[in-house]
Amino acid sequence: MSKIHVNTTVNGDEVDFLCDPRETLLDCLRDKLQLTGSKEGCGTGDCGACSVVLDGRLVCACLVLGVEAEGKTVDTVEGIAKGQDLHPLQEKFIKYAALQCGICTPGILVATKNLLERSPNPTETEVRYWLAGNLCRCTGYDKIIRAIMDTAAEMREAG
């Protein structure tokens, strides 16, 4: 099958790649751009390990075709820290031990950052439902939720 040339912006950088029309955005990020921070836990939109932000909208990269990224902006876990500085969410996840194995972490960070941009003062229930598409098998979510609530509070204070 002939390949399609895709131009897109990932984490602020203009990039391009050739992809088979059957390849997902997740495949393209991981295999063509070597951005392996986004994970494939299911490939069917059920686990959220592949969460990225496409033109401002939180999506499962495994459910988006690579060709759909043409002309759009994609934000992945690799773009969350600014240079050496971790995002407050990243700091709190480490501090709270909101990860055990860490395979769900990139997706959860991407999803949560997107939530806090929309809703800086979420309730615990809102956070839990926002993350209902991000599976974590290790933690029971307790420390994840605590880390997020604390980050949100701190970011609000910092204004």
Binding site: T44, C101, P106, L135, C138, Y141, K143
Partner: protein, 755 residues
Amino acid sequence: MALDDTKTKDFKFVGTRPERPDGVDKVTGRAKFGADMTAPGMLHGAILRSPHAHARILSIDTSKAEALKGVKAVVTRADFSTNPTFGPGLTGEPWNVLENVMAGEKALYDGHAVAAVAATSALIARDALKLIDVTYEVLDHVTDVDKAMAEGAPVIREGAADKSVPAGMHPNVVRYHDSGHGDVEAGFAEADLVLENSFKTEATHQGYIEPHACLGSLGNDGKGELWCTTQGHWYAQKMCAALLGLETSQLRVTASEIGGGFGGKTTVFIEPVALALSRKANKPVKIVMSRSEVFRATGPTASTSMDIKIGMKKDGTITAASGVFRLQGGAFPGAPCEFTAMCAFAPYALENVHQIGYDVMSNRPKQAAYRAPGSPMAAFAVESVIDDLCKELGLDPIDVRLKNASHKGTKASFGPRFDDIGLVETLEAAKAHEHYNTPLKEGQGRGISCGFWFNHGGETAVSLALSEDGTAQISVGTPDIGGSRASMALMAAEELGIPYEHIRCTVADTATLGYNEISHGSRVTYASGLATIKAAKDAVNKLCKRAAQKWGIPEDAVKWEDGCAVPSGANAGDFDPLPLAKITANMGATGGPIVGHFEATPEGAGVSFATHIVDAEVDHETGKTKIVRYTVVQDAGKAIHPTYVEGQFQGGAAQGIGWALNEEYIYGDDGRLQNAGFLDYRIPLASDLPMIDTVIVEVANPGHPYGVRGVGETSICPPLAAIANAVSAAAGVRMRELPMSPPRIVAALKAAQDG
């Protein structure tokens, strides 16, 4: 095994909560998991799987696939060793693993691998699978444990049973366990109330979010490299070597960061296949499983069918207990029937106890360990009956458990006498907990349960090298599945007396250390921890020796204090403390590198107990349940990094909630798995769960220098039972089958109503 040099108080580093060394890598996406590795010239592998539950493989024609452009190799069973033998202790298991990794004469379950392809892209590899022609003769199948051992059931494999199985049993019954003591019949006769009931649990999957993935490279010189996500890379090395007819030492295996295992990554599936493809194509081959492959072809737990009988006096004393535990572990021997039987009554000091276990084969994937394999199901059955006895006799469930609780010196239901254990302490902490003393709201039910697990030691090797600048690097051989590198560094810091931050712990590859058993049996903090402490002590001895040399005094006149060599007493001489970094700064000139080692098979793992309290609600109309409150109380012996101990408690409880309420392998009449994806196999979501409270009890394990007991597994032993007790109380009917999914609850309510 009691140790002479134990330390149980005045810790400086142990018990603190520092940040983990791999934290930044894991929150930035930099950490390399199984599927994140590539190699120059790499091919992509894919595996063809049987659509049939049970079928004879008459022929496999791979010619069309081989002819497809981009395909570089196709392998079938013929490309593996014909004689996969091993040393004593594992006799037969390599053959079972090979048979599971690539089917021989028969496909034994839906999803069983029958052939594999390597091609220049993952898409081509997938296309090539469709071009492989397999001719099957479909055979009768069985997937239910009770049916599999009944007369007339299709035989999975003739002659698989071992000597333990009594004559006259169906050939699918392959192992038998029988243990206990006293006279149960006499015990039941003494009881004021005897209850007897049957229970069932469905198979559940470990459900790690990272699918199996590996990258293998093997030349026709028999030398290879393997990168994989695994709980045990030495086991992977040994098993791959056996299955491919290699010398073990010629294959170097590196463990990737691991995205969850819970017991399911304690064996090999795709690793030998990638190596076989690589050998044939003479290129590195990467294989990554899809989620449906993970469900269909990797190990779920055993499913069970159990009969329990318990007698109790009016005052709550248990007079006798007996249980029969039938476990279905897929198309191979190995369902942990003896663990189920041995754990069942372990929390209780019983004069009369008898337990029987059956390991039964069926047309399902080969079961794999899942967190305290076999124990949670037994607790579900036993603790449900105890709950009913308490209700009928009007007794408090914690008081009854305290009355019968095992303690130091109790002859365990499985034979030996317990050493120091913390069951009573967990029960007392639960009883005193605010949760237990908070009244329930209308429509809620509360359940409690105890749970037990053995824990494990196992072969362990650790080395600890000091650097010139006074920092230390630890090499361990146990993959870090939940923050263990932080715990190792804490223990080393405690011994060396240097800050935690100056120590880096790495999971070494198989070429770097002696054999390390798999990260299983809750053994890592116990065994690798013990080995780290001993390796650090070894390094400290060497440091003291250098100081003695420098000071010109005997070695035994130097001791180690707070990171410095100091004279051991007034008679030893008057010297200023010599800090570690001062000694290492010129160690090259004073005798060479300083490295501490420890290699052993520690055997003092120390069993552990937990008590869980759960509040649940049930919607009587829809059968939907909700866990509204959850508290875990567990004995950790000594919590090295309390945050990660809490994490293990919470994770075990959450997995238990899934197992109790939702998760199950659903097979159709055709023997095919109906729900091989996270949409239909529903694990708990953030929106399903409450916060999970934890209480860490510390009753030191005499077998570890700091008193550590493993914590990873015991946390999943009580939840099934505690939740069943809570849900049954809220529903007003006793639930005897897991999962307690909405349809089952509605059916139970209806049956109770129809009475």
